[in-house]
């Protein structure tokens, strides 16, 4: 059994546990590569079905090409798509044109997520975060509880071992289910390649540049790359020592910005 097979089986196990344990689970989807791997795993876990809604937190700064992919994927896979925008914040004028990226991320992603949860009463959010993306994510649990105030109590995380997880929550609380925690960026690419998972074209080189990590338009920067196939990308990753999220401005705005964002409910 290959390492990818192990990762796949473990992720499917987690998805099935989440679907069993929670009354109203939902899966977050950004159309990005990890998100698409997650969607693929869900299709596998539930034999071609996706038995929970797929939520996209739309910041209104999405790349048009990603929005096209969103419609295409919904029809292709056949799932219940929920799109949420923090209209209130946009009405107040919150945006990259006027505000710092940490605040914008908080308002248009975290607060938007809170609004979605309050509205739909989800008790579990399945996300595609990985431990190798950031050093605070490296300390995450597969089933990670969040308080009603959306807080991550990273100082007192519940124990988690032998495939047993925190599967019960109090009123207003929810659990982040994170089936891709053990995967690395390299694993994701190898898996996408192995499974021939459909992906947005922005990940591949055009005119000597490609996106390694795709977020909001104003703060996602492409990297120099001639990688036009997944094989090329894998070769590129073998030698790089630049972090995957280096192109994401909000992570680097201040020291430990990511920990602060995450403690407040960011993924």
């Amino acid at each position: 059994m290959s390492h990818l097979d192990e990762l796949e089986s473990n992720s499917i196990y987690l998805l099935r546990e989440a679907y069993h344990a929670f009354e109203r689970p939902a899966m977050l989807w950004s159309m990005g590569k990890d998100s698409n791997a997650l969607l693929w795993l869900a299709k596998k876990a539930f034999c071609g079905n996706i038995p929970f809604p797929i939520v996209h937190i739309d910041t209104t700064y999405e790349f048009p090409e990603m929005l096209e992919f969103r419609s295409w994927a919904r029809d292709h896979y056949g799932f219940d798509l929920v799109v949420w925008i923090n209209e209130e914040a946009r009405a107040r004028g919150i945006g990259y044109e006027t505000t710092d990226p940490v605040t914008v991320t908080h308002e248009l992603k975290t607060v938007a997520l809170q609004q979605t949860l309050a509205h739909h009463k989800y008790d579990a959010l399945i996300t595609g975060i990985r431990r190798d993306e950031d050093s605070t994510r490296a300390k995450e649990r597969a089933f990670s509880p969040r308080t009603a105030d959306f807080e991550w109590d990273y100082k007192d995380q519940p124990p988690e071992f032998w495939n047993h997880f925190t599967t019960e929550v109090g009123p207003g609380e929810h659990v982040r289910v994170q089936p891709l925690l053990d995967w690395t960026e390299m694993d994701i690419w190898r898996y996408l390649d192995q499974e021939k998972v459909p992906l947005p074209g922005m990940y591949f080189s055009r005119n000597g540049k490609r996106f390694r990590s795709i977020g909001c338009m104003p703060i996602s920067k492409p990297v120099d790359s001639n990688a036009t196939t997944i094989d090329d990308i894998i070769e590129e990753l073998k030698v790089t020592r630049i972090s995957e999220r280096a192109g994401r401005a909000q992570d680097h705005h201040e020291r430990n910005a990511m920990q602060k964002l995450r403690a407040k409910g960011f993924m």
Binding site: M1, F46, R131, D132, A138, K155
Partner: protein, 648 residues
């Protein structure tokens, strides 16, 4: 790609050394945990390994170094690992961290586990998923409390691949005598735990000696450096070659089919295999293996699906399978038991107490177990056992306990298939402890039948059969129904089993030939005994005219340890025929019902009934009280003086 220039590096750091290269074949992924006493250098070791194998993202080391310089601190490799602000401020790892790194030969996941006792739950969270462990010991301090505790927990968690790194050798002048003395102590300690170390390696994590390349400072050391020692480890092989164990996570009905979804914990499964589900024992044949997306060539998977795989199957028969059951071959099933011994560790502030009913999860099974006894608690530091039974297991303690489940549990004990012998204990919504089952215990080992004792504990009484015999119309059903009400009011679970119950259901396919009547009675006896086994006071109200049949019922009950009383509901035939509530005598006299008891078939009255009730002489209420006295005396025996069964 940038590199820290040698001049800006902390003293003694080598120019980033290449990991052991060569053309050796790639090894499978390995995850290893680094454990040991607080401040013995775990995060430093990991930071150094990452740095020396070029696994640190570009600029990170430089940034941290600049920050250290600004604050007048010495650069520490540990800062590469401790991500949370609190960790950086206190210079202590609080929660377990996983980081990938790779050499030319292998991809690794390093699990950094906190050494501080307060964060033991995080240490276990990290260590439980590792294939191997590095136990770190400070050369200057030697074995400390957490060194021993962690060693002990590694053995309990089932880790068998352990390398010891004796760190900070630079602080003892690379003295071989210090190393040898610590090695001897460690070999003795880990040997007693059954986890002898594969290698004991001298290192200086801070200076990078002995991790990736040899150091002239310990030329006296001939063994492998740390990375070489790790390369000798295998990733934990899923139990192949073992009998199938399929943990059922769920049964899906997305369409008309029932899809059984789960994880193959051991063995393998293929289409056509016979499979039985435990506890329960329902069995079928695997009809299909479900797979998405469908294969391009239109073929369907036949298996084998091996250990470690998540899978989904359908069965040839429509069985009611439940989450938690374990699928396995009928010829090599898991143990199914209510009662077992286990070693547990406890992580919650509220102690685990003897007599406590605690939620338990094993695989996808969820149940409640009573802590029947705490045989002894173990001091994980000294390995000294408490002298005798204890009343509680405190936080961070380890104990040998006996647990009695309310419902049966399927498992494989004694490390036969580790994944099937591990469980967690819950306190509220949280995992509060874990344990490993050492052996199933026989129910009769606990003085008076542990299996039914569970039900006695649940119901407050035991199952009993009150067998009422008498002519049709003698008043059996009336008395039976009144007795049922009377017992239910007294808090006793009672159920009537009479001719109507049988003839409209279980025996609907039977007629009234001698053969069919005998079969009907056989079914009545089986059902009565089964219900009584399940704790019910069964009130059987059946003509049962033949002494031999009633004697058989009594004997079968005695064989199974079920109290049984024969009650003769007696009224003269003339009186019964006068009452004739169902007009049966009339029809029998008219020849419509052949072989009717009392008319053209004999009734053999009991010779020595436990109770005789003359329904033509005694009022119903009085008879019911006599019956209730009899039933309660049997269902609620006096508690024996010697305390047998007192722990139920």
């Amino acid at each position: 790609m940038t590199k820290l220039s040698d001049t800006t590096l902390p003293a003694g750091a080598p120019a980033a050394a290449a990991p052991s290269a060569g053309t050796a074949p790639a090894l499978p992924h390995l995850s290893f945990v680094v454990v040991g006493h607080v401040d013995h250098g775990k995060s430093t070791l990991i930071g150094r390994l990452l740095f020396d194998t070029h696994s640190v993202e570009e600029g990170k080391a430089e940034r941290i170094q600049a920050a250290c310089k600004a604050e007048g601190m010495e650069f520490e490799y540990a800062f590469l690992m401790d991500a949370l602000l609190e960790e950086q401020a206190q210079n202590i790892t609080m929660d377990t961290t996983r980081v990938p790194f790779r050499t030319d030969r292998r991809a690794y996941t390093i699990i950094d586990a906190p050494g501080h006792k307060e964060f033991l739950k995080n240490m276990i969270t990290g260590a439980a998923s590792a294939d191997a462990a590095v136990l770190l010991v400070d050369a200057k301090e030697g074995l400390r409390e957490q060194t021993r505790r962690h060693g002990f927990l590694l053995s309990l968690l089932g880790l068998r691949q352990i390398v010891v790194a004796v760190n900070k050798m630079d602080l003892v002048n690379y003295d071989q005598k210090v190393f040898d003395s610590i090695s001897a102590e460690l070999r003795e300690f880990l040997g007693r735990l059954g986890v002898p170390p594969t290698h004991i390696v001298p290192i200086s994590a801070k200076l990078g000696y002995g991790l990736i390349s040899r150091s002239e400072h310990f030329s006296w050391y001939k063994g492998p450096v740390l990375l070489e020692a790790l390369e000798q480890f295998r990733s934990t092989p899923p139990a192949a070659g073992a009998p199938l164990r399929l943990t059922v996570q769920d049964v899906y009905r997305f369409d008309a089919r029932r899809i059984v979804a789960g994880l193959v914990e051991a063995g393998s499964l293929s289409v056509g295999d016979r499979i039985e589900f435990f506890p329960g024992g329902k069995h079928s044949v695997i009809k299909t293996i479900e797979e998405w997306p469908a294969r391009a060539d239109g073929s369907t998977p036949k298996g084998p699906v091996g250990a470690g795989r998540s899978t989904a199957i359908t069965l040839a028969d429509e069985l009611f399978i439940e989450r938690g059951q374990i699928g396995g071959p009928p010829e090599d099933p898991p143990s199914v038991s209510y009662y077992f011994t286990a070693r547990v560790f406890w992580l919650h502030a509220d102690s685990l107490k003897v007599g406590e009913l605690v939620p338990l999860r094993l695989g996808a099974q969820q149940g409640e177990g009573r802590i029947a006894s705490i045989e002894r608690t173990l001091d994980a530091v000294t390995l000294d056992a408490s002298t005798g039974p204890a009343t509680e297991v405190k936080r961070h303690e380890v104990a040998e306990v006996r647990i009695r489940m309310r419902r049966p549990l399927a498992f494989d004990a004694g490390g036969r298939l580790p994944a099937l012998g591990r469980f967690v204990l819950m306190r509220g919504r949280r995992i509060a402890g874990g344990g490993v089952i050492d052996a199933a215990l026989r129910d009769d080992a606990v003085g008076g039948g542990g299996l039914s004792a569970n039900r006695v504990a649940l119901l407050g009484h035991r199952g009993t059969v009150i067998w009422m015999t008498g002519l049709s119309g003698s008043g059996k059903s009336t008395l039976a129904q009144e007795l049922e009400k009377r017992l239910l009011r007294a808090g006793v679970l009672a159920a009537v089993l009479d001719g109507d119950v049988l003839r409209t259901g279980l025996s609907r396919n039977l007629g009234f030939t001698t053969e069919d009547r005998r079969e009907n009675l056989r079914r009545a006896i089986e059902l009565a005994l089964h219900l009584a086994d399940a704790g019910v006071v069964v009130i059987a109200a059946l003509i049962s005219p033949f002494r031999a049949d009633r004697a058989m019922a009594a004997k079968r009950a005695a064989d199974r340890g079920i109290p049984f009383a024969e009650v003769f509901v007696n009224a003269p035939l003339a009186e019964c025929e006068r009452r004739d509530p169902k007009q049966l005598y009339k029809r029998a006299r008219a020849g419509e019902i052949p072989l009717f008891t009392g008319i053209d078939s004999p009734y053999e009255a009991p010779l020595a009934p436990d109770l005789e009730l003359r329904t033509d002489e005694v009022p119903v209420g009085e008879s019911v009280e006599k019956l209730a006295d009899l039933a309660l005396a049997l269902a609620r025996p006096p508690i024996p003086e010697n305390g047998a069964g007192a722990d139920i």
